[in-house]
Symmetry: C2
Subunit: 102 residues, 2 copies
DNA sequence: TTACTATATTCATATATAGACATATAATTA
DNA sequence: TAATTATATGTCTATATATGAATATAGTAA
Protein backbone atom coordinates (compact mmCIF):
# COMPACT_ATOMS: atom_id res chain seq x y z
CA UNK A 1 0.00 0.00 0.00
CA UNK A 2 2.97 2.35 0.42
CA UNK A 3 1.01 3.83 3.29
CA UNK A 4 4.03 4.25 5.56
CA UNK A 5 3.59 6.65 8.44
CA UNK A 6 6.97 7.61 9.79
CA UNK A 7 6.17 10.90 11.46
CA UNK A 8 7.92 12.88 14.18
CA UNK A 9 6.50 15.28 16.69
CA UNK A 10 8.01 18.15 14.71
CA UNK A 11 6.30 16.82 11.57
CA UNK A 12 2.91 17.19 13.23
CA UNK A 13 3.58 20.85 13.94
CA UNK A 14 5.08 21.36 10.50
CA UNK A 15 1.89 19.99 8.98
CA UNK A 16 -0.13 22.61 10.86
CA UNK A 17 2.25 25.46 10.11
CA UNK A 18 0.51 26.94 7.07
CA UNK A 19 -2.59 29.14 6.87
CA UNK A 20 -4.19 27.16 4.05
CA UNK A 21 -3.76 23.91 5.93
CA UNK A 22 -5.25 25.47 9.05
CA UNK A 23 -8.22 26.61 7.00
CA UNK A 24 -8.65 23.11 5.62
CA UNK A 25 -8.67 21.65 9.12
CA UNK A 26 -11.17 24.21 10.24
CA UNK A 27 -13.49 23.21 7.40
CA UNK A 28 -13.13 19.57 8.42
CA UNK A 29 -14.29 20.24 11.96
CA UNK A 30 -17.88 19.44 11.01
CA UNK A 31 -16.93 16.20 9.28
CA UNK A 32 -15.53 14.98 6.00
CA UNK A 33 -15.48 17.18 2.93
CA UNK A 34 -14.59 16.59 -0.71
CA UNK A 35 -11.77 18.49 -2.34
CA UNK A 36 -14.20 20.50 -4.46
CA UNK A 37 -15.89 21.90 -1.38
CA UNK A 38 -12.53 23.00 -0.01
CA UNK A 39 -11.56 24.49 -3.36
CA UNK A 40 -14.84 26.42 -3.43
CA UNK A 41 -14.21 28.12 -0.11
CA UNK A 42 -10.47 28.51 0.14
CA UNK A 43 -8.82 31.33 -1.76
CA UNK A 44 -6.14 29.45 -3.68
CA UNK A 45 -5.86 27.20 -6.75
CA UNK A 46 -7.07 23.60 -6.79
CA UNK A 47 -3.60 22.13 -7.32
CA UNK A 48 -2.43 23.93 -4.18
CA UNK A 49 -5.27 22.54 -2.14
CA UNK A 50 -4.42 19.06 -3.37
CA UNK A 51 -0.82 19.55 -2.40
CA UNK A 52 -1.68 20.77 1.07
CA UNK A 53 -4.05 17.85 1.51
CA UNK A 54 -1.25 15.50 0.52
CA UNK A 55 0.99 17.00 3.21
CA UNK A 56 -1.68 16.67 5.89
CA UNK A 57 -2.27 13.08 4.84
CA UNK A 58 1.41 12.16 4.72
CA UNK A 59 1.84 13.47 8.26
CA UNK A 60 -1.06 11.42 9.51
CA UNK A 61 -3.47 14.26 10.17
CA UNK A 62 -5.98 13.41 7.46
CA UNK A 63 -7.51 10.26 6.05
CA UNK A 64 -9.27 10.07 2.71
CA UNK A 65 -11.44 7.80 0.58
CA UNK A 66 -12.74 7.90 -2.94
CA UNK A 67 -16.42 8.39 -3.50
CA UNK A 68 -17.11 8.23 -7.20
CA UNK A 69 -15.34 11.11 -8.84
CA UNK A 70 -14.78 12.86 -5.54
CA UNK A 71 -12.24 12.29 -2.83
CA UNK A 72 -13.42 12.83 0.72
CA UNK A 73 -10.96 13.92 3.42
CA UNK A 74 -11.39 13.89 7.17
CA UNK A 75 -9.36 14.50 10.32
CA UNK A 76 -8.17 11.23 11.79
CA UNK A 77 -7.63 12.34 15.37
CA UNK A 78 -9.81 14.93 17.04
CA UNK A 79 -6.86 16.00 19.15
CA UNK A 80 -5.75 17.89 16.06
CA UNK A 81 -8.68 20.23 16.67
CA UNK A 82 -7.55 20.63 20.25
CA UNK A 83 -4.19 21.82 18.94
CA UNK A 84 -5.94 24.46 16.85
CA UNK A 85 -8.05 25.55 19.78
CA UNK A 86 -5.11 25.87 22.14
CA UNK A 87 -3.06 27.90 19.70
CA UNK A 88 -6.03 30.20 19.11
CA UNK A 89 -6.32 30.77 22.83
CA UNK A 90 -2.62 31.50 23.07
CA UNK A 91 -2.96 34.17 20.41
CA UNK A 92 -5.80 35.77 22.33
CA UNK A 93 -3.54 36.08 25.36
CA UNK A 94 -0.91 37.72 23.18
CA UNK A 95 -3.36 40.51 22.33
CA UNK A 96 -4.32 40.99 25.94
CA UNK A 97 -0.69 41.36 26.90
CA UNK A 98 -0.24 43.97 24.20
CA UNK A 99 -3.09 46.05 25.58
CA UNK A 100 -1.57 45.78 29.03
CA UNK A 101 -4.02 43.42 30.72
CA UNK A 102 -1.24 41.04 31.59
CA UNK B 1 11.77 48.36 22.63
CA UNK B 2 11.07 46.92 19.18
CA UNK B 3 9.23 44.18 21.01
CA UNK B 4 6.47 43.84 18.41
CA UNK B 5 4.51 40.60 18.54
CA UNK B 6 2.64 40.16 15.29
CA UNK B 7 2.14 36.41 15.27
CA UNK B 8 -0.33 34.19 13.42
CA UNK B 9 -1.70 30.82 14.39
CA UNK B 10 0.51 29.25 11.74
CA UNK B 11 3.53 31.01 13.25
CA UNK B 12 2.93 29.28 16.56
CA UNK B 13 3.04 25.87 14.89
CA UNK B 14 6.01 26.90 12.76
CA UNK B 15 7.87 27.81 15.93
CA UNK B 16 7.30 24.31 17.28
CA UNK B 17 8.13 22.57 14.01
CA UNK B 18 11.76 21.73 14.68
CA UNK B 19 13.28 19.00 16.84
CA UNK B 20 15.83 21.28 18.49
CA UNK B 21 13.13 23.77 19.44
CA UNK B 22 11.00 20.96 20.85
CA UNK B 23 13.95 19.83 22.91
CA UNK B 24 14.45 23.35 24.20
CA UNK B 25 10.82 23.55 25.27
CA UNK B 26 11.07 20.21 26.95
CA UNK B 27 14.04 21.45 28.98
CA UNK B 28 12.07 24.52 29.98
CA UNK B 29 9.22 22.47 31.43
CA UNK B 30 10.80 22.59 34.89
CA UNK B 31 11.34 26.34 34.76
CA UNK B 32 13.73 28.86 33.31
CA UNK B 33 17.17 27.87 32.05
CA UNK B 34 20.17 29.79 30.83
CA UNK B 35 21.49 29.32 27.33
CA UNK B 36 24.60 27.56 28.58
CA UNK B 37 22.51 24.85 30.21
CA UNK B 38 20.67 24.27 26.95
CA UNK B 39 23.93 24.22 25.01
CA UNK B 40 25.34 21.67 27.45
CA UNK B 41 22.50 19.20 26.86
CA UNK B 42 21.45 19.71 23.28
CA UNK B 43 23.53 18.18 20.52
CA UNK B 44 24.16 21.23 18.32
CA UNK B 45 26.35 24.32 18.26
CA UNK B 46 25.77 27.31 20.53
CA UNK B 47 25.02 29.74 17.69
CA UNK B 48 22.27 27.40 16.52
CA UNK B 49 20.72 27.24 19.94
CA UNK B 50 20.74 31.03 20.11
CA UNK B 51 19.00 31.28 16.78
CA UNK B 52 16.35 28.74 17.71
CA UNK B 53 15.78 30.65 20.94
CA UNK B 54 15.39 33.83 18.92
CA UNK B 55 12.71 32.17 16.79
CA UNK B 56 10.80 30.92 19.81
CA UNK B 57 11.00 34.38 21.35
CA UNK B 58 9.94 36.20 18.19
CA UNK B 59 6.87 33.98 17.94
CA UNK B 60 5.90 34.70 21.50
CA UNK B 61 6.63 31.27 22.95
CA UNK B 62 9.56 32.29 25.13
CA UNK B 63 10.45 35.21 27.33
CA UNK B 64 13.97 36.03 28.51
CA UNK B 65 15.90 38.21 30.91
CA UNK B 66 19.55 38.92 31.51
CA UNK B 67 21.11 37.71 34.70
CA UNK B 68 24.69 38.82 34.83
CA UNK B 69 26.54 37.17 32.00
CA UNK B 70 23.78 34.69 31.45
CA UNK B 71 20.45 34.99 29.68
CA UNK B 72 17.58 33.08 31.16
CA UNK B 73 14.73 31.85 28.96
CA UNK B 74 11.32 30.57 29.97
CA UNK B 75 8.04 29.50 28.38
CA UNK B 76 5.51 32.31 28.58
CA UNK B 77 2.33 30.29 28.31
CA UNK B 78 1.99 26.84 29.78
CA UNK B 79 -0.46 25.94 27.03
CA UNK B 80 2.65 25.50 24.88
CA UNK B 81 3.42 22.42 26.97
CA UNK B 82 -0.11 21.19 26.38
CA UNK B 83 0.57 21.40 22.65
CA UNK B 84 3.64 19.21 23.08
CA UNK B 85 1.72 16.74 25.19
CA UNK B 86 -1.14 16.43 22.73
CA UNK B 87 1.14 15.89 19.77
CA UNK B 88 3.02 13.22 21.70
CA UNK B 89 -0.23 11.44 22.40
CA UNK B 90 -1.20 11.65 18.76
CA UNK B 91 2.05 9.98 17.77
CA UNK B 92 1.38 7.17 20.21
CA UNK B 93 -1.94 6.51 18.50
CA UNK B 94 -0.14 6.40 15.17
CA UNK B 95 1.98 3.50 16.43
CA UNK B 96 -0.99 1.64 17.77
CA UNK B 97 -2.68 1.91 14.40
CA UNK B 98 0.42 0.53 12.72
CA UNK B 99 0.45 -2.51 14.96
CA UNK B 100 -3.20 -3.09 14.17
CA UNK B 101 -4.79 -2.12 17.46
CA UNK B 102 -7.01 0.38 15.72
C1' DT C 1 -15.47 5.27 -27.44
C1' DT C 2 -15.58 10.19 -26.50
C1' DA C 3 -16.32 13.93 -23.56
C1' DC C 4 -16.49 15.65 -19.02
C1' DT C 5 -15.57 16.33 -14.09
C1' DA C 6 -12.78 15.98 -9.95
C1' DT C 7 -8.38 15.46 -8.35
C1' DA C 8 -3.37 14.72 -8.52
C1' DT C 9 1.20 15.41 -10.39
C1' DT C 10 5.15 17.50 -12.94
C1' DC C 11 8.14 21.24 -13.85
C1' DA C 12 10.16 25.54 -13.18
C1' DT C 13 11.03 29.02 -10.02
C1' DA C 14 10.90 31.94 -5.99
C1' DT C 15 11.40 32.23 -1.22
C1' DA C 16 12.23 30.48 3.44
C1' DT C 17 14.79 27.86 6.63
C1' DA C 18 18.80 25.57 8.69
C1' DG C 19 23.53 24.99 9.74
C1' DA C 20 28.74 25.78 9.61
C1' DC C 21 32.00 29.03 10.57
C1' DA C 22 33.69 33.26 11.89
C1' DT C 23 33.05 37.27 14.48
C1' DA C 24 30.75 40.71 17.40
C1' DT C 25 28.82 42.26 21.81
C1' DA C 26 28.00 42.56 26.75
C1' DA C 27 28.86 41.59 31.45
C1' DT C 28 32.35 40.04 34.69
C1' DT C 29 36.73 39.40 36.68
C1' DA C 30 41.71 40.14 37.14
C1' DT D 1 42.49 48.35 31.29
C1' DA D 2 42.86 43.63 29.45
C1' DA D 3 41.23 38.98 29.54
C1' DT D 4 37.45 35.87 30.05
C1' DT D 5 32.84 34.06 29.75
C1' DA D 6 28.14 33.84 27.88
C1' DT D 7 25.44 34.93 24.18
C1' DA D 8 24.13 36.90 19.69
C1' DT D 9 24.81 38.03 14.87
C1' DG D 10 26.69 38.11 9.95
C1' DT D 11 27.79 35.58 5.85
C1' DC D 12 27.60 31.85 2.94
C1' DT D 13 25.60 27.72 1.25
C1' DA D 14 22.58 23.82 1.09
C1' DT D 15 18.12 22.23 1.39
C1' DA D 16 13.19 22.58 2.01
C1' DT D 17 8.89 24.62 1.00
C1' DA D 18 5.35 27.07 -1.68
C1' DT D 19 3.20 28.41 -5.92
C1' DG D 20 1.77 29.07 -10.87
C1' DA D 21 1.03 26.90 -15.02
C1' DA D 22 0.48 23.03 -17.60
C1' DT D 23 -0.67 18.33 -17.79
C1' DA D 24 -1.94 13.68 -16.29
C1' DT D 25 -5.17 10.42 -14.27
C1' DA D 26 -9.44 8.27 -12.68
C1' DG D 27 -14.14 7.84 -12.59
C1' DT D 28 -18.59 8.99 -14.83
C1' DA D 29 -21.84 9.96 -18.34
C1' DA D 30 -23.23 10.28 -23.10
Amino acid sequence: MGDELRVSQADIFKALAHPVRLQILQMLQQGERCVCELVAEIETEQPNISRHLAILKKDGILGCRKDGLKVMYWVRDRRAFKLLELSREMLKSYWQEKSGVF
